[in-house]
């Protein structure tokens, strides 16, 4: 789903967030070395990194937009696509992989009708893959927002997700 496809209410919300971002940037003027810290904060604010925010960051930190985009795309943590209200990450680290991680991903894709890396039409869920979160004893693991679910059964995925509005 492209960023133009939001409903108006989220657009208005997003507008007010830019004022917040300006405040954050005040403490980092001209400090290119703070780029990753600022990106963390910005993503915490918007839930993803909109192009306009990245341009503001580039300007205030005095680094080129190329460099900003280079960093954003390099790290797994950052996303330039709008994400759902709830983020689902299926662990495909080695331990989860041998204990059924790929099956969990497939079932989640089927249940939600989206693919890995996509967001549902109502922006309720984003689905993604994560590499080893260190919950190997609980394999296969799945994280929803900050909650880790272990020994996930494919039949129970929707039951887990129901809690998240």
């Amino acid at each position: 789903m492209s960023s133009e496809g939001h409903c108006r209410c989220t657009q208005i919300e997003e507008e007010s967030l830019y004022t917040e971002l300006e405040k954050i940037l005040e403490g980092h003027k001209g400090r290119g070395k703070d780029l990753i810290i600022v990106l963390h904060k910005a993503q915490g604010l918007f839930g993803y990194l909109p192009r306009k925010a990245l341009e503001m960051i580039a300007l205030e930190l005095d680094v080129s937009i190329n460099e900003v985009l280079g960093v954003v795309t390099f790290y797994n943590f950052f996303s330039t696509q709008p994400t759902g209200r709830n983020s689902i990450k299926v662990c495909l680290g080695t331990a989860c992989y041998v204990r059924g991680g790929p099956g969990v991903l497939k079932q989640a894709e089927k249940d939600l009708g989206i693919k890995d890396g996509e967001t549902t039409g109502d922006r309720r869920f984003s689905l993604g893959v994560v590499r080893c979160i260190g919950a190997c004893g609980l394999a296969p693991a799945m994280i929803v927002n900050n909650d880790v679910y272990g020994r996930v059964k494919t039949t129970k995925i929707m039951e887990i997700l129901e809690k998240y509005e």
């Binding site: 390099f74 790290y75 943590f77 680290g93 992989y97 590499r131 260190g134 190997c136 394999a139």
Partner: protein, 525 residues
């Protein structure tokens, strides 16, 4: 002061929280209040006990009985039976728990004693209380050193201890500090590498969650020895609980004057702060980590110059792993010769392992250097799950080697494993039973590397992509006979020509797979 007759220590770490540890904790508080026992029994939080897939885990002292898989429904029964009547709730008691360095805990242990240096306090003290850390001898070493010892003497002691880097490279910690101390620079840095990303590894997370002050004290001693003014903890953004506990620990230490300006009135000032990583495996490589700390893409730098002379912002920098630094306070408190009493002649001390995969009791253990793989899997790990046969273990993370049954009796330490072209790496041990499909395993490893290749150098960028193409073909039963040797040949070129260890190390999992399972792979053709 109230006389407390029982202590209930609840393990609060990432996996027990998921299993509902906070709710169980509240249930205990309520239940004790209902029965008017709130002054006789105290409920405390502690770090991980090393059991990781056993739900909510807690210990009741003075008996030292460990309960696992506890739910809120079990709370009234534990209070009624154990606390009031002195009878253990047998169905929840953990019997397979290895012996550890707690006097009382030995009663429940059946297997083997764990010499705990790094994990000495984990699961015993409340990680959020600086007082409890100090009560166990914490910051004693730092205060003695800063008041009474010269930095050179500290470095000598660390050198004598024979401590080597626990992140995988096994370089002498004392030497590294010495180089940085001698390097010219007005500003110097200590970086703690807590960007734990090796698949199957979560030792650093549990060390940080269980005993954050131990790391801070280690960093403080390192800072004093090297002559650094600043310490950074570069940590995975996903490690939310570790970050929270570290933030609190830094604040508490600053409030007591253990970090900050003019520590112990000595004139030595040292500041520690946390930097969140953003998820890139290559940032485990120290120069890539430095680039990332500087706010850039995590591409490795050419060496030399090494970070000890030109590191962060071009200044002398020491980068140590969490486990390495957590060893320091104990070494300095008890002396180098005490430390050398553990482990082997060439590799003194202990190693923290995460045992995962098809074992009966996966978890976190600390064992002496030189312990055999057999002991780790069958004594600590409780053997193979469901009585199956051992097929192999991937030792040292994704960049490690597959070790077959003939390697079970090799001593696990940096030097011995090197003789067999294997590595200890991060200490991750992924055990596989006879039913495991080895091609699928290798496929997972190769996909991981393709995803994490940073794209900086050609052999790794193109090599990982080709390897994935080939292994996918083989896994789909569409491979050709020559594909098997092609895997090996590509990884050889990558080993010899890649810019950093990421690309170089793929040779290990591939060559070891072929050593043991060439026939199995050929049967897929």
């Amino acid at each position: 002061m109230n006389l407390v007759r029982n202590h209930i220590l609840i393990s609060i770490d990432s996996s027990t929280i998921m299993a509902g540890a906070r709710a169980v904790e509240r249930a205990f508080v309520d239940e004790l209040l209902n029965r008017g026992l709130q002054d006789e029994v105290s409920v405390l939080e502690t770090g991980s006990l090393g059991l990781i897939n056993r739900g909510v885990v807690l210990v009741v002292y003075p008996e030292g009985v460990i309960y696992a898989d506890v739910t809120t429904k079990d709370v009234p029964e534990i209070v009624e039976e154990h606390i009031l009547k002195g009878r253990f709730v047998e169905r929840l008691v953990v019997k397979e728990m290895p012996k550890q360095h707690v006097i009382k805990r030995e009663k429940t242990g059946l297997l083997k004693e764990q010499p705990r240096i790094v994990l000495r306090n984990s699961g015993i003290i409340n990680p959020e209380s600086i007082d409890e850390y100090i009560a166990t001898g914490g910051y004693e070493a730092a205060s003695k050193i800063i008041n009474e010892m010269k930095p050179e003497e500290v470095i000598e002691e660390v050198k004598r201890s024979g401590l080597t880097g626990r992140g995988g490279a096994a370089f002498s910690t004392g030497m590294k500090w010495d180089f940085a101390r001698r390097a010219k620079g007005d500003v110097k840095y200590i970086i703690c590498n807590a960007d734990e990303g090796e698949p199957g590894t979560f030792k650093d997370r549990l060390i940080l969650e269980g005993d954050p002050h131990k790391l801070l004290e280690g960093m403080l001693i390192a800072g004093y020895a090297v002559g650094a003014q600043y310490g950074y903890i570069y940590i995975r953004g996903e490690y939310v609980l570790s970050i929270e506990r570290l933030e609190k620990a830094i604040k508490d230490a600053e409030a007591l004057g253990l970090l900050g300006e003019n520590i112990f009135g000595s004139g030595f000032s040292y500041h520690v702060s946390i930097k969140k990583g953003a998820g890139a495996y290559v940032c485990g490589e120290e120069t890539a980590l430095i680039e990332s700390l500087e706010g850039k893409r995590g591409h490795p730098r050419s060496k030399p110059p090494y970070p000890v002379t030109e590191g962060l912002w071009g200044k002398p920098t020491v980068i140590n792993n969490v486990e390495t630094l957590a060893n320091i306070p104990e070494i300095m408190r008890n002396g180098a010769s005490w430390f050398r009493g553990y482990g082997t002649e060439k590799c003194p001390g202990t190693k923290v392992y995460t045992i995962i995969g098809h074992v009966a009791t996966p978890g976190l253990i600390e064992a002496e250097m030189g312990t055999t793989l057999r002991d780790i899997i069958f004594e600590y790990g409780g053997g193979i799950k469901n009585g199956k046969k051992f097929k192999c273990a991937l030792v040292g993370g994704a960049a490690g080697a597959f070790l077959g049954p003939d390697m079970l009796d090799v001593n696990m330490d940096f030097v011995s494993l090197r003789e067999y072209s294997a590595v200890l790496g991060s200490g991750a041990i992924l055990v596989m039973d006879e039913d495991t499909n080895i091609v699928e395993m290798l496929k997972n490893v190769l996909h991981f590397f393709r995803h994490e290749s940073c794209g900086h150098c050609v052999p790794c960028r193109l090599g990982t992509a080709q390897l994935v193409k080939i292994i996918d073909r083989v896994a789909d039963s569409k491979g050709k006979r020559e594909d098997i040797d092609k895997l090996l040949r590509i990884s050889e070129v990558m080993r010899d020509t890649s810019f950093c260890p990421l690309g170089q190390s793929l040779y290990l999992p591939i060559s070891s797979t072929l050593k043991y399972f060439r026939d199995e792979m050929l049967s897929m053709i």
